[in-house]
Symmetry: C2
Subunit: 453 residues, 2 copies
Amino acid sequence: MATLQLASWATNLAYANLTSGVLIAANKSLYNWAGCAIGGFAFQPAPQIALNTTLSPFSGPPTSSILGSTNGSISRGFADAQVAALVNGIASHVDDYDDTHLETIIHPAGPVASALLAIAEAYGPVTGHEFITAFVAGVEAECKLGLSVSPEHYDVGWHITSTVGSIGAAVAVGKLLKLDTTHMQHAIGVAATQVVGMQEFFGSDTKSFHIGRAAQGGMLAALLAKNGYTSSLQALEAKYGWLHVVSTRENATAYFDQLGNVWEIEKNTFKPFPCGIVMHPVIDGAIQLSNETALKGLSINDIRTVELRVNPEVLILTGKTNPQTGLEAKFSIFHAAAIGILYGEATPSQFTNDVVKNSTVVDMRKKVNVTEDKSVSKAEAYVSLTLNDGTTLEKHVEHAKGSIENPLSDAELKMKFMQQVSLVIGDKRAENAYKAFSGVRDMEDVAVIRGLY
Amino acid sequence: MATLQLASWATNLAYANLTSGVLIAANKSLYNWAGCAIGGFAFQPAPQIALNTTLSPFSGPPTSSILGSTNGSISRGFADAQVAALVNGIASHVDDYDDTHLETIIHPAGPVASALLAIAEAYGPVTGHEFITAFVAGVEAECKLGLSVSPEHYDVGWHITSTVGSIGAAVAVGKLLKLDTTHMQHAIGVAATQVVGMQEFFGSDTKSFHIGRAAQGGMLAALLAKNGYTSSLQALEAKYGWLHVVSTRENATAYFDQLGNVWEIEKNTFKPFPCGIVMHPVIDGAIQLSNETALKGLSINDIRTVELRVNPEVLILTGKTNPQTGLEAKFSIFHAAAIGILYGEATPSQFTNDVVKNSTVVDMRKKVNVTEDKSVSKAEAYVSLTLNDGTTLEKHVEHAKGSIENPLSDAELKMKFMQQVSLVIGDKRAENAYKAFSGVRDMEDVAVIRGLY
């Protein structure tokens, strides 16, 4: 019944059902996604390789925006909706700077918004209300599914954002295409059978490919279903269907019963640091240490050691001691602590290939030691720094900046958007882009967004 | 080391390494694939929905043939290579009439050939020798990988043809693009992270989508890697890589050690009946019964019961008692027995929606009873028929027609091709198509094939 239950809820969801809390969360999730995609495309090779040298020969008529591409090789930053979904998905995730549903470690907006914007531009007009409703349907679908297989599904090595993301994207696009419940079930099926993403690829270009491919595959699933392509009406719950094949735990019905009552999108958080979320407590602590007056005027030579005490998951996911690229450094707890202390901030600028190879940073990473401690939760970290004179400074971060308990303020989230986007298109256009992407709900046709910044 | 071992073997493989047995098997595999794709596209909705109503708005310049499409909506049967790989993959598998590597139940040609022909046409010139070498590399890659996770991987519900198929397609396309070993490792990685296909979708349009999506995803992986997209050099063997994530058994090195010594393509078999291979022994027995003189002149009303004794896997995969469509009937052992006895043959004509709903066929299916017996191998079946007068006729099929032990002759395989293709383009052009697809190895540019029939 799980597939029917999800499809039925999604097809019946109306804009009027969305609470003010949901609307606020959806709005933040959307513009944060757009800012990440714009910044990610402009400064990372992955989305540019995917678009310019790989997929441009395969693009059909350029209906849909490539975010962040102002001079792309295809018709000034447009491509067909399938290509756009893939490239925008890659770009939105490539900096590991997007959003996080902390219970599942899903980054919800990427697969769903990347598919939705591309299809809305190609198949419009789509109103802001329709767009937001479809977006929320997709996010709820992927997060409820993620909850129902967590943590077992993630623990075996799947990259949960993309494995549930294709289904979220299919539900969202299916909603926009006004599929009935049966067709939505088929869309869920075609999406469910495309399981993209493993953790081995963290630290490489392939991590962000997962999100793009999920967006594209989910869109394709919804389009196929709309046109009568059949899959299964029990795609999720069947013995050889999604839940059982990809996880030893499945509890979908329990979570689907809460659809529309407990809104997962309200739990969405936004990353203040562009890297794996399990490193955020350490970075927060390291930045706090860097601001200590006791360190002012000292150099790296005065620092004897940095000791981290963290949950064991941190080393499993981010144990790279000697990263060689910016992308690898996003999964190095050693790099995270080093740059937090050295720079007092953690922005995309601290995760470039140059900074990763900087000799001071390399030396600093070598001073970092990590102790695993099961009694430390994944949300917290102990960061202590010992000087050569024996002075020890310690910070205990209970909830890192960006967590549910310590979220970015609206002003901080806007500043994050502006910092990313201004570098690409300048302050004035960035401000226009912020207004555009934070004003989707009031648009009569979301496709106009391309002309607003 | 598994990823490096596979990549290294594939990049070093030369046409001169291929034995005459390998060349013969590759040739049969290729033209059988083409025949299935031509017939599949013309008479099944799945590939036509995928192409005409779904993907045509997304096709770039039409470089690559859509097999079987003589009047498609895109430029008389062409599309871009990504779309062509997807559609040809669907078409080649949609009738469940293709080829089978029996140890793994992989249908090897579909993902590999669908990607290869499309890319050869788009990126040529590609010689016949290059094409055949790449094809063999892809087939060996997917079958060795399949062996290394069998049967556990299949048993949990994955559709192994597509889950290994994307990797096979990436190896083949990567070979054609002349990737070096490191780039081939990255290609394997991008392909490995795209795990498409679950058994729940057997009997629906989504089953054949698996093969098309694997072909397309593997091609995309090779193109991305060629352009510098990074994945992992240990994509297969890493703790959170392909082998461990998708199976509890992994023994890749043991099989990769045999690459180039034991050729899996030589074990490829060709289906005489367009349906799930586990049903073939029953169909063979049913057809034999239908030819018994004792049944001549009798009607269905004279038949009391048909008793099947089969391996338990048969009911797991093909237990649909009351199929409603031709695709569902391809996974109904009840339908298989019924049409074998009623028609004395099992061709695509016995798996149409009309035949499935025919009242005589429905009545006949109801007379079929199945007994599971672990002592009966998957290769064999006992089929017995009891008349109302008490007469019982029994057939024991030890190895079904089309198996390694009882293969189609060259003439029969050609006839299978001709039967499928003649219905689409007439006898004369079918004969030309047979010559073309069975003559690939001698071509200076495989792309000319489109003009030969």
